[in-house]
């Protein structure tokens, strides 16, 4: 084989020079989150200018409080989904475990005991999802659709369809009190988001989500316990669903079997908009936060602009399809170079 050593080295050196690191700025520009921030900024600017109510602190508080329940659940859902595990049962879990908690309180349990009962049921319901997925090898979507329906039915059965009210005052303050003038649900939301960002990035166990979602077989070969991850992530999602349910029940002072209905759809859509891949391996908590926020702002703006709120679904549906289509198109362009 004829090989001229000198020209070879030249070729390699030339190649080395062309392979420079992408600049920090370029990385930001290419991130999915960046385009979302742009969209959000445009909408916020438009709303601030066209209405005098949007930027008011009253409206912002209403908005943040309104999205707190979705957001608290979206964070663990995102961690789970990065590993390729979708959880569709969150809304029903929320209803069932908060109903259990509130019924316990109405039947003599103390506020603390009642809340603990609710949280534990949330965890158990989540673990049941993981058990079905791990033991019977049923795909997460199918498994959690099944439990979504079953948990919803159970909630209806135990409540006989009636609303549970007359909750203890101590419990209500859990969702109504303020910390430095900020309503507690917003405080909870912020804490959960920060914690979620932190664990997914810095805690080894949760960071494995990216490996597992990226290539499950390789992850297993690399000695990662993927089943344990499934248990933990669904258990956590169940816990946070119950927690969000308690916040909601405390804030409203009542709970019924219809609590949290439609939440699973809203959140899955928000996560997809936020760049969490349905196949796993990709996504950030920041993206999830942007997705949930965008959904909430669209909802809020229609109210402010006095448009029939039923348009919300048309608009968010369109945003979902558009954002994924843009993402796909930019990827195809990238791989075609």
């Amino acid at each position: 084989m004829s090989m001229n050593a000198e020209t070879l080295m030249e070729v390699i050196q030339k190649k080395e020079k062309t392979l420079e690191k992408k600049s920090f700025f370029r990385r930001i520009l290419e991130a999915r989150e960046f385009s979302l921030i742009l969209i959000l900024a445009v909408i916020v600017a438009a709303l601030t200018l066209s209405t005098d109510t949007f930027a008011s602190s009253a409206n912002l508080t209403v908005m943040l409080q309104g999205m707190s329940v979705d957001m608290i659940i979206a964070v663990p859902m995102a961690i789970s989904l990065v590993a390729g595990n979708i959880d569709f049962s969150v809304g029903s879990n929320l209803a069932l475990s908060s109903l259990i908690a509130c019924m316990a309180m109405n039947n003599g349990a103390s506020t603390i005991t009642g809340m603990l009962i609710g949280l534990v049921s949330g965890i158990l319901l989540g673990l049941l999802n993981a058990l079905i997925i791990n033991k019977f090898r049923i795909t997460p979507l199918v498994a959690t659709m099944g439990t979504w329906m079953a948990y919803k039915g159970l909630a209806l059965v135990i409540s006989s369809g009636s609303t549970v009210a007359n909750l203890p005052d101590g419990f209500k303050s859990f969702g109504r009190a303020k910390l430095f003038g900020i309503p507690l649900p917003i405080v909870y939301m912020v804490c959960v988001v920060i914690l979620g960002m932190f664990v997914l990035k810095y805690i080894d166990f949760f960071n494995r989500a990216y490996y597992i979602g990226g290539n499950q077989a390789s992850a297993r070969l690399a000695g990662m316990n993927t089943e344990l991850f499934t248990y933990v992530s669904y258990g956590l999602t169940g816990f946070m669903s119950a927690f969000a349910g308690l916040v909601l029940a405390a804030r409203l002072g009542a709970v019924s079997q219809s609590a949290g209905s439609g939440l699973e759809f809203r959140n899955v859509v928000a996560l997809l908009i936020g760049g969490v891949s349905m196949d796993g391996g990709e996504g950030t908590i920041f993206g999830a936060v942007l997705g949930v926020t965008l959904m909430q702002i669209v909802n809020n703006s229609l109210v402010l602009l006095d448009i029939n709120p039923s348009w919300t679904q048309v608009i968010t549906g369109s945003i979902l399809v558009l954002s994924i289509a843009i993402d796909k198109a930019s990827r195809m362009k990238k791989s075609a170079r």
Binding site: M1, Y210, Y211
Partner: protein, 504 residues
Amino acid sequence: MDDKEEKSMDVPAIKLINVNKEFPGVKALQNVSFDIDKGKTHCIVGENGAGKSTLMKILSGAYTPDSGDIIVDGEKASIKSPADSIRLGIGIVYQELSNFSNLTVAKNLFANNLPHKKGLIDYGKLNTDARKVLDNAGLTYIDETAAMKDISLGSQQMVEIAKLLSLDIKIMILDEPTSALTEVEINKLYSLIQELKEKGITIIYISHKLNEILYLADNITVLKDGNHVGTFKKTPETTKETLVRLMVGRDVAYDYKVGTSKIGEEILAVKNLTSGTTVRDVSFSLKRGEILGIAGLEGSGRTELLESIFGWRSVSQGEILINNKKVKINSPMDAKKNKLAFITKERKVQGLFLSLDVRKNIAAASTRRFRKKGLVNVGLMAENAKKYIDAMGIKVSGLNQLTMNLSGGNQQKVLLSMWLTADPDIILIDEPTRGVDVGAKAEIHNLLRDLTKEGKAIIIVSSEMPEIMASCDRILVMHEGQITGELSNAEATEEMIMKYASGV
């Protein structure tokens, strides 16, 4: 430590003694014994199915041998898993890379052991450690923070090599490492191999490309049909011809009645067909009544050529003429309209509908024909299926037996029936007898010959040279996407084919 160093110089890195491995119906390795010297580049060559990959999988812990001993650095080793193999200092870079393509280079390098500080992942250290690993392997140009999928295939492979180096590997197996690389990347790999050798690392290098072997090898082992043919030092006298002779040289006789059908006028002409880099500027013609064979090594573009003709793979250049008329084939639908049939080698994945019964499978390529008053008619399908089951001697328990429960040979006959039902003029067959037992092999070839007697034309792609030589009127040989030779049945010998296939 010193003792070991001294001992280590004359002890081979790996000594294989009577290694055997059998798969159902195939003796993949039979009493293979040879030594791999320390610090040398040891190349292993052989035809498709010679046992190279099986042997490497045994060394890397993916398979366990049925019998025989593996002595690593003078000590008997038991390799039961990839982890055992790594512990013994043996690492492999597979032909098909299996990394976490969505994650950064650094995270891939340290997938098993991300660095920590106070229980948290230490990204700073992760990236500096990754930088060190890459620099140590001379990969100064690879960005440790880039996503794996954003760097070239060659670079991804280099990252895998660097990862093994960071695990303190003493013996590195490279399985067809250059098959997906560009010229520049290949040269980069060569210089990396040179550096590894200088560090005392033993390289086991598997390749079909004889040029590479002759350039890189210190020692060469030839395997054939699972047997060890020989291990020798490369000398200036070692040529490609010597290697080819050792790799082939077998006597198997088949008679598939070549020359008994009448060759008619030209039915297909392919001109300058190009598809990416896998099929490059291919031109040939095919006549009625003819069986044309396409030989070549795995990865030479044979399958891709058939896929390009059939519209399954996008064609960047060239034209196809059928009956002297230019046709546009952009999809399998177009191909079918032009009376082409394609019988894939991925029978179970891309060919058959395993969960459907024989009757429905045979009807699958021409469902429109089985309608009565616009409605699907199972009776018509059954009639048609019966016809083919009788004609081809397909062994089924009934018309509604599921195809997944048939043997390989019978599945192949069902797939063939499916396409014959569509009444093609030109039949493209990839590996017609893969996974088919000897008896059914002859039956299938006789069937194909009979079809040519009806004026149909057939193109066969096969990895088995005796099969091609016994069944084809004319043979084209491919090498790296191009046709490097054309032989008539009378001219063809395995050595000639092998020469063209290796690009000599």
